[in-house]
């Protein structure tokens, strides 16, 4: 187990270190998120009397689309540099590589979310941030990163990889996305946390499902 975690940490450290130097993933995700929020803000400004109606959808859609940019880079950069062979040649359980890359993607998306939330508060002039919402976002992002990383590994060996990733990812992510939006609406309307538990449970169920399936299939996904 110690060895397994050491490999997870090594891959995570490597991806974070590279991103801290290059800022490729964060920049593209953050710029996209800002632009998306701005466009949504202008698009809805004149027509929606209550902005809280649109905030949950804008939040989750922005996270999803900007997240796809980051997830796409998770394996594309490894493939383009040829360094993926170096990872696959290592005498390690390949699922440890998956978890390292998944955690890196999770952190990248969470950092963008930390940047996105206050930005949306400013743009929509409504403070909707709360601790349960942050927990909800974390759980939703975990599922997103879990399934996105495996699909990124799958798509990277195809010629249409940029298109294939969202085409595969969005339908599979739909339950988490719907539950996230419904729970966010509930929080903004002041519903009790107990009433929200069904959405939390649904997201946790899909998180576990995605992680288990990814763990079991990653070796086959990265095989030539």
């Amino acid at each position: 187990m110690k060895r397994y975690l050491s490999v997870v940490w090594a891959v995570l450290w490597k991806d974070l270190r590279i991103e801290l130097r290059s800022k490729d993933i964060f920049t593209s995700m953050a710029v996209f998120a800002v632009l998306a929020v701005m466009i949504f803000n202008f698009a809805f400004e004149l027509r929606v009397p209550d902005k809280t109606v649109v905030i949950p959808g804008v939040l989750w859609v922005t996270i999803t689309f900007s997240g796809v940019l980051g997830l796409g880079r998770a394996f594309i950069s490894e493939k383009d540099r040829g360094s993926i062979a170096g990872l696959l040649l290592a005498p390690v359980d390949r699922s440890a590589i998956y978890f390292g890359k998944m955690l890196a993607s999770l952190i990248f998306i969470l950092v963008v979310e930390a940047f996105l939330l206050p930005l949306m508060v400013i743009f929509f002039n409504t403070n909707f941030i709360s601790l349960p919402l942050i927990l909800l976002l974390f759980l939703g992002t975990l599922g997103f990163a879990a399934v996105g990383t495996i699909f990124s590994g799958l798509a990277v060996n195809t010629r249409t990889r940029e298109i294939l990733l969202p085409v595969l990812l969005f339908p599979v992510m739909l339950p988490v996305l719907m539950a996230g939006i419904r729970a966010t609406i509930g929080f903004m309307e002041g519903d009790a946390l107990a009433d929200m538990m069904k959405w939390f449970n649904l997201i946790i169920f899909f998180d576990i499902l995605y992680i288990v399936v990814a763990y079991l299939t990653f070796d086959y996904v990265v095989e030539e």
Binding site: S6, R17, R21, S22
Partner: protein
């Protein structure tokens, strides 16, 4: 009679309808240096990718120390080092960080000492804190060799390691490969450069169209004989 370190039996590989390897049989003794020549598309890279467990054969068997690699790929990888056209390094990490990362993957006991030893050996210790993106092609390939040797693998696979190197850098690499070879390590190398390949080889193999068309001890053949032979199998002007 000793058991060969690597045994390849009826190895075939196809990508869809395209058959790349059409039945390779080969035994490689421990400590030998096998150099494989062949034109582009002959199947050299595919052969090395299968040996390195990066690709699975369509049919046939590869055994390392008597163990079928498909039964224990994770265990076999501990015994393999690979240098390919791509250096398998990260441009945005320093030389030291790259090797430190791979040292973690290979679970090395004293990574700092080993990294220092290898970087000194390839003449890059003084550049250890520089990003790999600032290195020349020759330096990157020397780094790639250091990476492949990090866990001191008994089998080293080299897929055209001299591609893109200027003559001086290629000469430096040849010296380095000669130094790291020896009786302890088995080397299987592919190259288009006949003279350089022959210099490093104990055994010469020619792969054309997914089949071995020539296989002989390097001591039995001189460069003057090898070139016309290669031209005969591959075609005039196909080599450096």
């Amino acid at each position: 009679m000793t058991t060969p370190l690597i045994e390849v039996v009826h190895l075939r590989k196809a990508f869809g309808r395209h058959r790349v390897l059409k039945g390779i049989d080969m035994s490689i003794e421990a400590g030998s240096s096998v150099v494989m020549f062949g034109p582009n598309g002959a199947g050299k890279t595919t052969f090395l990718r299968i040996l390195s467990t990066l690709s699975k054969p369509t049919s046939g068997t590869v055994r390392v120390s008597g163990v079928d690699i498909k039964n224990n790929p994770e265990g076999i990888r501990q015994y393999l080092g690979l240098v390919s056209h791509a250096p398998l390094l990260y441009d945005d990490l320093t030389a030291y960080e790259n090797l430190r990362f791979y040292a973690r993957l290979y679970d090395l006991d004293a990574p700092h000492d080993r990294i220092r030893e290898l970087l000194e050996r390839v003449g890059l210790w003084h550049r250890r804190h520089d990003l790999v993106r600032t290195f020349s092609r020759g330096m990157v390939q020397r780094m790639a060799i250091a990476r492949a040797l990090l866990h001191n693998p008994p089998i080293l696979l080299l897929d055209e390691p001299d591609t893109g190197l200027d003559p001086q850098a290629a000469e430096m690499m040849t010296d380095l490969l000669r130094e790291i070879g020896g009786s302890e390590r088995t080397i299987i190398m592919t190259t288009h450069h006949l003279e350089r390949g022959l210099e490093l080889a104990d055994r010469v193999v020619m792969l054309v169209g997914g089949l071995i068309v020539f296989d002989a001890p390097a001591s039995d053949i001189a460069y003057d004989q090898l070139r016309p032979l290669y031209d005969q199998y591959v075609g005039e002007g196909a080599v450096t």
